[in-house]
């Protein structure tokens, strides 16, 4: 059974100007342990799909199962719980709380999982170590670089041991070297068994995935597996260039 099972999934917006079909009866399965890039220009339906996969929105038609749970039957509280337990979100703009330090930011999802203070702090520090920021736990976002901020956000996504890491243009606000750092981190997490879905319009990012699903006008236009480019290789190349 796939981790993500979408059948005839539709999302239609009823606006004053009329109906907009953002997603048109798509079928999509994503297996656990895969690393998938969802691509397409803006308006292609990829963001709509991300919102549906991320349980932030409900479909107007079809069905969606996440890890065996029928998502379209859940109410707002059920969706919140599912997001909390099964999904780790990574955003383009990091969305860190500016006044809280790295550890407190990473603790946020556990606040709603009902963990006590000690357990939260321990798991947050573990997650920060996993993304290579063990020594920066007391820094505030302002005191961290863009790449480091995104790592804090990834640590936050990991703390509840989700089944799925869902990243929305995770490298969109970063320079190319830092972007490679982050992609290398995603690949490392994927090798450790995490299912990763990256929504992007950037082909350079998509090259690092095992599978690329392309969208246009609310439909899937291609779905290919590929041999992913290793982000570490790209970093070495960059280093060689700067050395030369």
């Amino acid at each position: 059974m796939a981790l993500i099972e979408a059948r005839e999934l539709s999302r239609i917006y009823s606006l004053d100007a009329g109906r907009v079909v953002a997603l048109d009866r798509i079928d999509l399965d994503i297996d656990a342990g895969d690393m998938v890039a969802i691509m397409g220009p803006s308006g292609s339906g990829k963001s709509t799909l991300m919102n549906l996969i991320g349980c932030l929105d409900k479909p107007t038609g079809g069905s969606y199962r996440l890890d065996g749970v029928m998502v379209d039957r859940l109410d707002a509280n059920g969706l919140a719980k599912l997001r909390n337990q099964k999904i780790g979100f990574v955003f383009q703009q990091f969305n860190l709380l500016p006044r809280a330090d790295a550890a407190t930011n990473a603790e946020l999802p556990m606040l709603y999982a009902g963990l006590d203070r000690k357990a939260r702090r321990r798991r947050a520090l573990d997650a920060l170590a996993r993304v290579g920021l063990a020594d920066r736990w007391h820094h505030r976002p302002m005191q961290l670089s863009g790449g480091q901020q995104q790592r804090v956000a990834i640590a936050r996504a990991l703390v509840n041991d989700p089944r799925l890491l869902l990243a929305d243009e995770p490298t969109g606000a970063l320079d190319s070297k830092t972007a490679l750092d982050i992609l290398a981190l995603f690949q490392k997490l994927n090798r450790e068994g995490m299912t990763v879905v990256i929504v992007t319009h950037d082909p350079e990012v998509a090259r690092h995935a095992r599978r690329v699903v392309r969208f246009r006008d609310g439909r899937i236009i291609s779905d290919e597996r590929q041999e992913p480019v290793r982000a570490e290789d790209g970093l070495k190349e960059l280093q060689a260039e700067t050395a030369a």
Partner: protein
């Protein structure tokens, strides 16, 4: 999220924008401070008035001679000598529930002791007077029945007179001259302080009723055993109104007044006057409550306003919290707790400020400061409720945000 954690994060949010938070609280601070200060001062003043009224004596009525008509001219209280000490004795004997009936005459005279002299009130009384006024001796003794009956030349000094004439010396057994009569001091009365009308009640010399009548007050009172007034003390407040009615009937009968004649005396129920004062204090409290309600309303609207701003400013944060698993009611309680904390802190600061103002004013005016724990708790509690009430709408708006929209907001 536990309540403690919610409180901590609320405090963080409040201190993050300290100036704005304080300005927001200002409405509640001022409202609560005003009420606490007014209540403290008001109850202090009320306590003082009550003390003064009590110093007069509880369950007291005063009967004054007068209010007679002489050929169409109505004369005021004390204008006639219609009241006698026989009347007083009859009241005590025949009216049920009367503990003491104290006839007295009052005059003014110069008191001389050696080289010092002092103009003071002379009050001719019997021992019932000290019962009625609940007035004890500080030293010495009261009049004995023989002294009263024979009209002996003895006196009891009030504290002010004793201090003025004798300084630190002991006045007992000394001779004070009043109207050329040498009075032997047999006692000094305890201090009564100021009366409700600001008079020094201790500026007085008591002499036996008979003595005063013969030697000090002049001929008006010398005949007919007449007195100016009678204090009547009842055992219970409940029987006063009925008792006063009976006294009136008794006196009319004793004075042989015709059916259609007016009373030749006046009865005033002093306890009733005290109750009226208390009632007007209660009216004042209602007024204060209204002022409090208005200022809390204004303060609450201020909090609602700033919470709405806060929700707008933190839309992305709310979106993030929803995305990582906050339920709508988690967001609702977060903002509700924030508003309530804000309002409660405002209430607490208001109490502190109000107490400060009350202490300063009370010190200046020489009143006692009376602040009940309840009024403090009520002030803070009501402020918190204002926070809940006015925080609810902004909090609901936050909780109803769509996470997708919220995350997209710049």
């Amino acid at each position: 999220m536990s309540l403690m954690e919610a409180l901590r994060s609320a405090l963080q949010a409040i201190t993050a924008n300290a100036l704005r938070s304080v300005l927001t609280m200002l409405g509640i601070i001022i409202g609560v401070a005003a009420v606490i200060a007014m209540v403290a001062i008001g109850s202090g003043a009320k306590a003082r008035v009550n003390d003064q009224i009590r110093s007069l004596g509880a369950n007291l009525a005063i009967i004054s001679a007068g209010n007679v008509q002489v050929g169409g001219v109505r004369l005021g209280i004390g204008a006639s000598s219609s009241l006698t000490d026989e009347d007083a004795r009859a009241i005590k004997r025949e009216i049920e529930g009367v503990e003491a009936a104290a006839p007295f005459i009052r005059g003014q005279a110069q008191a001389i002791y050696q080289g010092t002299n002092w103009s003071t009130a002379i009050q001719a009384v019997d021992n019932d007077f000290f019962v009625a006024r609940e007035w004890d001796m500080a030293s010495g003794r009261g009049f004995d029945p023989e002294e009263l009956r024979r009209g002996e030349i003895v006196a009891i000094l009030g504290q002010t007179v004793a201090r003025t004439l004798f300084g630190s010396d002991d006045p007992l057994d000394q001779i004070v001259r009043v109207r050329n009569t040498p009075f032997k001091v047999i006692g000094v009365a305890a201090s009564k302080g100021q009366s409700a009308f600001g008079q020094d009640q201790d500026d007085i010399i008591f002499v036996p009723l008979e003595t005063g009548r013969r030697r000090i007050m002049g001929r008006n009172y010398a005949k007919d055993r007449s007195v100016a007034s009678v204090f009547v003390k009842f055992e219970q407040e409940a029987t006063m109104v009925h008792g006063i009615g009976e006294i009136r009937a008794l006196l009319r009968q004793r004075h042989r007044l015709a059916e259609d004649a007016e009373d030749d005396f006046t009865v005033r129920n002093l306890t009733e006057i005290a109750n009226t004062a208390t009632a007007s204090a209660r009216t004042l409290s209602f007024l204060l409550a209204a002022v409090a309600a208005v200022s809390l309303l204004v303060g609450g609207i201020g909090i609602m306003n700033i919470m709405l701003v806060s929700v707008t400013e933190r839309t992305r944060e709310i979106g993030l919290r929803l995305a990582v698993g906050a339920r709508p009611r988690d967001v609702l309680s977060q903002f509700l707790i924030e508003a309530t904390t804000l309002a409660s802190i405002g209430g607490a600061l208001g109490v502190a400020l109000g107490l400060g103002i009350a202490v300063v004013i009370a010190r200046t005016a020489g009143w006692p400061v009376l602040v009940s724990l309840e009024s403090v708790l009520i002030a803070v509690g009501v402020s918190g409720l204002v926070g809940v009430f006015f925080g609810f709408y902004p909090a609901r708006r936050a909780a109803k945000l769509d996470p997708i929209e919220a995350l997209r907001r710049e």
